[in-house]
Amino acid sequence: MTTYMSAIDNPPPHRRIPLSPDQIRRHQLPRAGMGRRGYSEAHVDALLDRIASDAENAIEANQELRAQLQHMKDALKQWQTDYQTMHPVTRESISADAVNLMARAQRQADGLVAQAQDYAARLSWEAQHQASSILASAQQRAEIEAERAVHTYRHEAGRRYAAEIEEMERRLAWLQAFTHAIQVQLTTAAQAFVEEVGKLTELIPDQG
């Protein structure tokens, strides 16, 4: 006995993809079984139910579409009526000067925003670039000092050498050198910033 095909299994009717005409034609109905002629009644009934249900869904969908189409036709008609009855004043043409002024103002606004964006982009990129290079350079210095500390410890520890102490010395030296390098770089940057700000105030003739 063939197992019942998945195409006929039972998802809720309104969510189902309907059987295609081809699926219906190709569907193999099982025979009625030993001793009887024709197809299995149960299978035939189930198939007919399925097809009838699909047909119902199709009719319903069709009706919905017709309703939507009518709605849109009504909306279009309404729109056309509205357009025809629009107040004549709004159909006056506007002076060329007004349009040109408006256009120039918009261009100016576009230009200002684009300029601000470019500036912001450049500033951000430069800041990030500078941050990366400060970090990289501080790390380099820290590595050098860490190596130096290890070297010094080994030289001075002699028989009291302990690997944990060496590691601690290394880390301490690294941290100190790193922090110091960051501090130096940031101080330099801050000083440069203060100088630039100072130059700005020189532009103002009367500093009251």
Binding site: Q68, H71, M72, A75, L76, W79, Q80, D82, Y83, M86, T90, R91, S93, I94, A98, V99, N100, M102, A103, Q106, R107, A109, D110, V113, A114, Q117, D118, A120, A121, S124, W125, Q128, A131
Partner: protein, 369 residues
């Protein structure tokens, strides 16, 4: 001269045409200016693009109608009302008449008006149908704002009403810090009972909205959301391989949460790329997720461009023939990944197309201005 020729002639005149159009529109209907952002150059490009597409596909209803319906429904979030469409048609016809001069005549006038009426009726119909199903937009409050790195913030917002979305989709967002500037972002979590949504926002250098969201937005501020959209990243069954570049992690994290929620035993491999360890901005949360869900394996891939990226790392681990592969990140990262994967015979790839339809979500901040 027919409709198409008249459009080609106008389009050839460049930016002056849409500039004139908007000038006329706003002079006539000043209240419409409030629906648009300060900087209009990208908007002018979009208008010309849309009109060009419509004219080119005028005879192909199957191609055009779905696009117009999407457009019409989408315009609701801007506050566009059906009565505003008439104003636009008017300004359009007047602009074309102005530039085509002698070539303009009564036939062209009627042709354009008729075409516009058809287009706008489809858009209005779609907007009205959409109005039956959903509000025009959702107001949302910022309930958490975490600056994970100088460039990246994880922002949690709560819409005032239930907001429907599928993990993997994007939502459009605007806030009063940059009025009427809309950008797409992807929820980084599967839908929660409290309706809250996490967004991963990176400052795009020179971008208009992203910088404001990361630097200026505060808990308690309000934002406005448009409906969710996007079909490229949807949950498949079975083994998942996920490749995330930067904040492209967001939709993939949401999908991983969704998958783990349905079946905690399903294997998920997530590779997250970041330039430096500091840029691995969601590391703690992902490790937490992996602890709660043992079949989720998270690998951080740290390195500057050129050194191993998530795609390379995944490929080095071996074959992934039984997996559906998800990719999200910058346009460049996605294109590159898709190319490499296809070259190695992988076909079950999920990603948002890099150059999406002009009103659709595009990956990676979508700051087109």
């Amino acid at each position: 001269m027919d409709l198409r020729e008249s459009w080609d002639a106008a389009a050839a005149l460049g930016d002056a045409v849409p500039l004139h159009f908007y000038s006329v529109l706003f002079l006539r209907y000043p209240q419409l200016r409030a629906l648009f952002p300060v900087a209009m150059a990208p908007q002018r490009d979009r208008l010309v693009g849309a009109l060009g597409y419509i004219v080119a596909n005028a005879s192909d209803a199957d191609q055009l109608t779905p696009m117009l319906r999407r457009l019409g429904a989408d315009h609701r979030k801007y506050g566009v009302r059906p009565e505003d469409y008439g104003a636009v048609g008017e300004a359009l016809v007047e602009t074309l008449a102005h530039f085509l001069g002698e070539a303009w005549n009564a036939e062209l006038h009627d042709a354009w008006l008729g075409a516009y009426q058809l287009v706008s009726s489809v858009m209005i119909g779609a907007a009205e149908a959409d109005a039956q199903a959903a509000p025009s937009w959702w107001d949302a409050e910022i309930v958490d704002h975490q600056r994970r790195t100088p460039d990246i913030a994880v922002i949690t917002l709560r819409p005032e009403r239930h907001y429907l979305y599928e993990p993997g989709q994007s939502l459009s967002l605007t806030c009063d810090l940059r009025p009427n500037v809309w950008r797409f972002y992807s929820p980084a979590n599967a839908p929660r009972p409290d309706n809250s949504i996490d967004l991963h926002v990176r400052i795009r250098y020179g971008g208009q909205l992203s910088a404001a969201l990361v630097q200026s937005l505060r808990v308690g501020d309000q934002v406005r959301l448009g409906p969710a959209s996007g079909e490229g990243l949807r949950l498949a069954d079975g083994h998942l391989l996920m490749l995330a570049g930067g904040t492209g992690l967001a939709p993939l994290k949401a999908l991983a949460e969704q998958a783990a929620g349905k079946d905690p035993t399903r294997p998920i491999d997530l590779f997250v790329g970041a330039r430096t360890a500091a840029d691995d901005y969601d590391r703690a949360a992902l490790r937490q997720l992996a602890q709660e869900c043992p079949s989720l394996r998270v690998t951080s891939v740290i390195g500057e461009a050129g050194s191993p990226d998530p795609v390379e790392m995944a490929l080095r681990r071996g074959r992934w023939d039984d997996a559906d592969i998800y990719i999200c990140g910058s346009d460049e990262m996605v294109s590159d990944a898709v190319r490499k994967l296809r070259a190695r015979g992988y076909a079950r790839l999920h990603f948002e197309p890099p150059t999406a339809w002009f009103y659709g979500p595009q990956r990676y901040q979508k700051d087109t201005s």
